[in-house]
């Protein structure tokens, strides 16, 4: 009985000590799979970028424009990315999303990409340099670039609804593909993501 009382007296001390020790836990880092989602908040993350790009590219390539182009031209269509504007309420690394899009299209083997304006200019400078400094056998000619057949552009939008510690965030990605010869919109795709975040008002 006496032993039990002593034990009971120790309980609060043990609880406080455990809490104190848990608060003193040092930083811990571990290596995890890049495809594994670690959602610490409802912000747009790498997994969202990957999932949206895969879903949109799959939808884009399922439209008839790819086969139509193959039949007409006999070559794979070449696409250029014009601009993807971030009109959401989150800072989204648009370049990362664009790279995910490009990888998904190239992996499908059904279309090619043309470098954007800045990269094209850098390559042209390099070719100019080759004309002066490279041997004739290894020089690349000017004026042999592949022109883009289609232009890809779009926007990322978002809405937020919040009540106390509960927040619903809705992301919508809209992309469109324009035929650069006829200005026809050959594809228009949309992907939506909804995230729910719940936070507690109190904790230890």
């Amino acid at each position: 009985m006496k032993y039990n009382r002593k034990l009971l007296k120790l309980v609060p001390f043990a609880v406080i000590s455990t809490l104190a020790l848990s608060a003193c836990q040092s930083t811990k880092v571990q290596r995890i799979d890049a495809n594994q989602e670690v959602a610490l908040s409802d912000k747009w993350n790498g997994k969202d970028s990957q999932l949206v790009s895969e879903a949109m590219v799959s939808d884009m390539l399922s439209f008839p424009w790819v086969n139509d182009h193959l039949k007409k031209e006999g070559t794979r269509p070449a696409i250029i990315i014009q601009s993807i504007r971030n009109k959401s309420h989150q800072h989204i690394a648009v370049d990362t999303f664009l790279n995910d899009l490009k990888r998904a299209i190239l992996r499908s083997g059904q279309a090619d990409f043309v470098a954007n304006k800045e990269i094209r200019e850098e390559i042209r400078d390099e070719r100019k340099d080759q004309e002066l400094n490279a041997s004739l056998e290894t020089q690349n000619e000017m004026g042999q670039e592949q022109g883009a057949d289609y232009a890809l552009s779009g926007t990322i939008n978002s809405f937020v609804d919040q009540q106390g510690g509960t927040r619903v965030t809705f992301y919508q990605v809209d992309l469109r593909l324009i035929d650069m010869t006829s200005n026809r919109e050959v594809w228009n795709g949309q992907k939506k993501i909804q995230k729910l975040q719940e936070r507690s008002g109190y904790g230890f």
Partner: protein, 569 residues
């Protein structure tokens, strides 16, 4: 002999407490604050000061990031400034979950031992500062301007999410503000406890008209007419419905927001009926075609300081009595007295009569110097609980007060080609916002400080009782002295604040022909000092936003035409 010893000990305690209180009146920054150093252009020392005063991982980590962000912005290091602001936003987000263990710790120590979580009005200021930084980056890097302008708009959208929530909680400014009847009723009921006057009416931070206006400018700059129109419209209604009155801003500014709204309606098209209703005059036409917005942040917001009070139990009138202990220089002592009289002292007729009825004639005259909390039938409970005994040597209570507002600016003008073309008008008063926040918190703060110090005094007495030192002998009194002194040391008011915030934000919208222009802002201070800041700006057919920070005590070299461009971007 015993009585003489007790008297001597009491005298000694008063001396020790007074010297301790004197020591406590020293502010966190022993010399010049980061804001004061920044206004002298001494950014290196200002940053060192921040690093020394705030721990990046400690309770003041939010202030570390906020002060650093302000200083980096003044240094034109916009990217790093935004990195600091992003860290501050992440911290504020994490503060949503309150730590129960920390709340318990505060109850036995003081608010200064807790994590500083900032004020509600900091969040809009952070988003505004980030947006201005992105705007400046866009101007510095024209090749990448679209990315930076988009990033500025992301900040405005996040701000909109926050303000929508704030409006939902407070009601915002949808309707014209009248006397706050509910608040009046509540304070009437609380009057016997604390006696604030009607200065506590309509001082809630409900929404932010300036944030909406700036949002409108940024959306207009990016050609998003609909979003800009909505933001200008919100700003216009808010300024009209009470925001301008609450922050003592000129009436013309709602007109400015209206011009923005008309401009957006014309650009978007399809608003002919609405435009007819506005009936613009010829004079208005020029203002509606504005294509340059100049935002001027002036000065430093007023400082939060510590007001010390002595709490005693008066057995004769069966009341707890609080008396301010005025410390510091003449100006500070005066400010402390006025703050106490304004918010806490027995200055109402009700209090005077109450003091008279309690037979405390001294306090009828001294009402302005004391706050009496009559316990009435609760007095016996207070004795039984040991409160009266615990307050034998008094207890120190510390609350914050705000230094008086000092409006140093007479007026501020925009000059072009050697001619003044318009005046920059005050669009927001961060000083009044800080003051109203301090007033709003004053009652809650004194309430919690009072209960905290009583709990601390009681706990100390219980510990003495258990140790067998609760006797009226020299040893007992010395033990009580020790506990009183320890409590006095830990009873500090929370004077922490974002010190580098501006005191006032002024705006001018002008119409310039497309091309390059040299624009000068001349700020005339009441001291006679004139600060000139010039910038080479590019005007386009669409709106362009330019921002500057002006300090009253800027050194002469900063005021010269060549060096004054330091701050402007």
């Amino acid at each position: 002999m015993g009585a003489r010893i007790k008297k001597a000990v009491t005298l000694f305690i008063i001396l020790v407490q007074t010297s301790l209180l004197g020591a406590c009146s020293i502010t966190q920054f022993n010399q010049l604050s980061p804001a004061q150093l920044a206004q002298q252009g001494n950014f290196v020392q200002a940053k060192q000061n921040v690093t020394q005063s705030y721990n990046k991982n400690g309770n003041d980590r939010l202030l570390y990031h906020l002060e650093m962000a302000s200083l980096l912005q003044l240094e034109k290091n916009y990217l790093q400034s935004n990195e600091q602001l992003a860290l501050a936003l992440t911290l504020i987000e994490s503060f949503y979950t309150q730590s129960i263990s920390e709340l318990a710790l505060v109850q036995f120590s003081g608010p200064t031992y807790s994590t500083y979580k900032g004020k509600a009005f900091y969040l809009p200021q952070i988003h505004i500062m980030k947006a201005l930084n992105y705007n400046a980056l866009a101007k510095l890097h024209p090749d990448n301007s679209e990315h930076y302008y988009d990033a500025a708009l992301v900040e405005m959208r996040q701000l909109d999410v926050f303000l929508s929530q704030l409006k939902e909680q407070t009601g915002g400014y949808d309707k014209e503000q009248h006397d706050d009847f509910l608040a009046k009723k509540v304070y009437q009921i609380l009057k016997p406890i604390f006696a604030p006057t009607d200065l506590l009416e309509n001082i809630d931070y409900k929404d932010d008209a300036f944030a909406h206006f700036l949002s409108g400018v940024l959306f207009e700059q990016s050609g998003e007419w609909d979003s800009a129109r909505l933001q200008y419209e919100r700003a216009m209604f808010m300024y009209e419905n009470g925001f301008a009155k609450q922050y003592k801003l000129p009436e013309q500014i709602s007109e400015q927001a209206r011009f923005g709204l008309i401009r957006m309606m014309r650009k978007a098209g399809g608003y002919d009926n609405e435009l007819r209703a506005f009936e613009p005059t010829r004079d208005d036409e020029a203002k509606q075609s504005a294509n340059v917005t100049l935002v001027q942040n002036i000065g430093i917001a007023p400082k939060r300081k510590q007001l010390n009070l002595m709490l005693r139990a008066n057995t004769e009138s069966k009341a707890l009595v609080m008396t301010p202990i005025l410390l510091g220089n003449y100006k500070e002592r005066q400010a402390q007295m006025r703050w106490f009289q304004m918010l806490h002292a027995d200055t109402s007729l009700f209090d005077m009569m109450q003091n008279y009825m309690l037979g405390d004639l001294g306090d009828v005259a001294m009402g302005a110097l004391t706050k009496r909390l009559p316990l009435g039938p609760l007095w016996d409970d207070a004795v039984r609980l040991g409160i009266v005994d615990a307050l034998q040597f008094g207890a120190r209570i510390s609350v914050t007060y705000l230094e008086p507002l000092d409006n140093q600016v007479k007026y501020s003008e925009v000059w072009l080609n050697g001619q003044p073309i318009t005046t920059l008008l005050p669009y927001h008063s961060v000083s009044l916002l800080t003051l109203q926040d301090a007033l709003k918190q004053a009652n809650a703060e004194i309430h919690s400080a009072l209960s905290r110090e009583i709990i601390k005094a009681l706990s100390a007495r219980k510990a003495l009782h258990k140790a067998g030192l609760e006797q009226n002998n020299l040893l007992g009194n010395l033990a009580k002295l020790t506990t009183t002194v320890v409590n006095a040391i830990t009873a500090s008011a929370d004077t922490r604040q974002w010190q580098t915030l501006p005191a006032e934000i002024r705006v001018a919208q002008i119409s310039l022909p497309p091309g390059e222009h040299d624009v000068t802002i001349k700020t005339y201070f009441r001291s006679g000092h004139v600060v000139e800041q010039s910038e080479h700006i590019t005007a386009n057919n669409v709106m362009s936003l330019w921002h500057t920070r002006t300090f009253a005590n800027a050194p002469n070299e900063q005021t010269s035409l060549t060096n004054s461009t330091l701050n402007m971007e």
